[in-house]
């Protein structure tokens, strides 16, 4: 792998950038792999990378039906935080946050992880109870988190309206200083480049059309580029997981919904942290390019169309302008949608299935991007060992039968 560095960049500049290498190969599929990862988004590529790096399993294929990183990895609002309520999810997301901290160096690819802090606002007394509950739990779990009140919020974000006359005045917030944002595309590309360098075959435009299953054991897939065999297959297909599961005769406890986001025109820096409000429902940060990146709500109907309802955008901007009245004259540039696979408890599925050798990593709902390194890391370990990693174990499909849900939205209210 060609190492990236400031010095290298200068050297390439002198040769008019004519000597840059491909960041990943465009290989032809082999007949057989030790592990197949279906889905070339952030989670799938991270899974492949950690399989190769941590477990020495390099005979791995990542099958991507379109272009890598083209699903929710390319469509999210890039927030990274780990202040989840329940022990199980806090462990998972905090593990991820730890990996984020050294990710650029690990991958030799600047994913621009910017720890500018994330605050979740509370507007009612019950909001504040929930926030306190979450922050207390975070602290005892070793997750960075604190409660701040309106004055402190105003100090960190001077342009926010904390006046008492607001319809839902801001009472306080939970504040995770070490949380932040990252450059979404770079995460996929960085993992792809690093995995490729370790020998992983990234097969784009390769769509799985069916599974080869014999006696309850998976042994390969059919694709538009021919059959590929492997006795260990991890499906990391986010919004399309239900469709993939059906090919294996499985039903999953999730539904795929549209989730929208939008950006303003680029502005000179005016907002340095991430501000989220579940009560008035909107969240916002400003990218390094200057766009205000704004997350909208999820629609309640099934949707694979990568677009949602316009009213959701209206409600989101109403919330944003309520919190930041100065943005009323700023203009919205673009909106888009992703397909989020959501479980009833707003927690993911990292699980074996009834089909031996076939594993699923899905159901991340609105929280997938931040989990990318952690999800890939524990899922790789699970595929390598054939047993779920301890951090992944609570997120089995079986919990929907036993009742052992990890109910994040029931308790914390903040799922993004």
């Amino acid at each position: 792998m060609q190492r990236y560095s400031g010095f290298g960049l200068a050297k390439h500049a002198l040769s008019h950038h004519e000597n840059w290498q491909r960041q990943w190969r465009n290989p032809t599929p082999k007949k057989r792999y030790d592990v197949i990862v279906i889905g070339g988004g952030g989670h799938g590529l991270a899974t492949a990378y950690y399989l190769a790096k941590n477990h020495g399993i390099t005979n791995v294929a990542v099958l991507e039906k379109g272009w890598l990183g083209g699903g929710n990895t390319a469509r999210n609002t890039t927030i990274v935080r780990s202040n989840y309520l329940w022990d199980e999810s806090a462990r998972l997301y905090d593990h991820s946050l730890d990996l984020w901290k050294g990710l650029s160096q690990d991958l030799n690819y600047n994913v621009m992880f910017s720890q500018r802090g994330v605050m979740n606002l509370g507007h009612t007394l019950q909001d504040m109870r929930d926030i306190q509950r979450r922050v207390h739990a975070n602290r005892l779990n070793g997750v960075d988190s604190e409660v701040i009140l309106a004055d402190q919020i105003k100090e960190i974000v001077p342009i926010i309206d904390t006046s008492k006359s607001a319809r839902y005045p801001i009472l306080g917030a939970s504040w995770q200083k070490t949380a932040g944002v990252a450059r979404h595309d770079a995460v996929a590309w960085g993992y792809a480049r690093a995995a490729d360098a370790l020998g992983v075959d990234i097969l784009q435009n390769t769509e799985v059309t069916g599974f080869k299953i014999r006696d309850g054991q998976v042994y390969g897939v059919h694709t538009n580029r021919g059959d590929i065999e492997s006795k260990t297959i991890g499906c990391v297909t986010a919004g399309n997981s239900g469709v993939v599961a059906k090919m294996a005769g499985l039903k999953l406890p999730l539904e795929s919904h549209p989730l929208q986001a939008l950006v303003s025109e680029p502005l000179k820096p005016v907002l340095d942290t991430v501000v989220m409000s579940n009560h008035v429902h909107g969240y916002i940060s400003q990218s390094d390019k200057g766009d205000l990146v704004i997350g909208a709500g999820i629609n309640g109907y099934l949707g694979y169309g990568q677009r949602g309802s316009y009213t959701t955008v209206e409600h989101t901007l109403q919330a944003i302008v309520e919190m930041f009245p100065i943005f009323s004259r700023v203009r919205m540039n673009r909106q888009w949608g992703g397909i989020v696979d959501t479980c009833a408890d707003a927690c993911p599925i990292l699980s074996k299935t009834k089909v031996k050798g076939l594993f699923f990593n899905c159901g991340w709902g609105t929280g997938g991007f931040k989990a990318t390194p952690g999800s890939g890391h524990v899922f790789a370990a699970s595929l390598a060992k054939g047993e779920m990693h301890p951090i992944a174990a609570p997120f089995s499909i079986d919990r929907f039968n036993t009742g052992a849900l990890v109910d994040e939205h029931g308790a914390a209210g903040v799922a993004h």
């Binding site: 406890p253 109907y301 099934l302 309802s309 036993t402």
Partner: protein, 124 residues
């Protein structure tokens, strides 16, 4: 922003008046006590989640407050039909072009008897 034909109000109304309530035709098991944990889990949580034709339960929340079903393509968002509780769809994954009317009852004819029937004697 869907435009939905309410089979009870018998006109198209904006999506803002409606609320989606998940997959249609999920009947509660007749005898819950004899269900295994898996069967009960399936009833509570496991859904078809198809990309394509989907039958879903909606309620005309601001309007007549009636629940009804929609056959909709979850990829194109095209609505193929709406039908009342107790009626069967004409369009399905097996019959994307629709079955002949006599096979399904989802015809939006509003008559006195139909309205009463819509309220009585039906099962999800």
């Amino acid at each position: 922003m869907f435009y939905i034909h309410c089979p009870y109000c018998d006109e198209y109304r904006d999506e803002e008046e409606f609320a989606p309530k998940g997959q249609a035709h999920i009947a509660r098991p007749e005898d819950p006590e004899t269900c295994s944990d898996e069967e009960w889990g399936a009833y509570l949580f496991f859904r078809d989640n198809p990309r394509g034709i989907h039958h879903e339960l909606w309620v005309h929340a601001i309007g007549c407050r009636k629940f009804f079903n929609i056959t909709r393509n979850s990829a194109s968002y095209a609505i193929l039909e709406t039908y009342r509780m107790g009626e069967q769809p004409r369009f399905s994954a097996e019959h994307p072009e629709g079955e002949p009317a006599e096979h399904g009852a989802a015809v939006n004819v509003v008559d006195e008897a139909g309205r009463v029937a819509g309220q009585e004697g039906v099962k999800a």
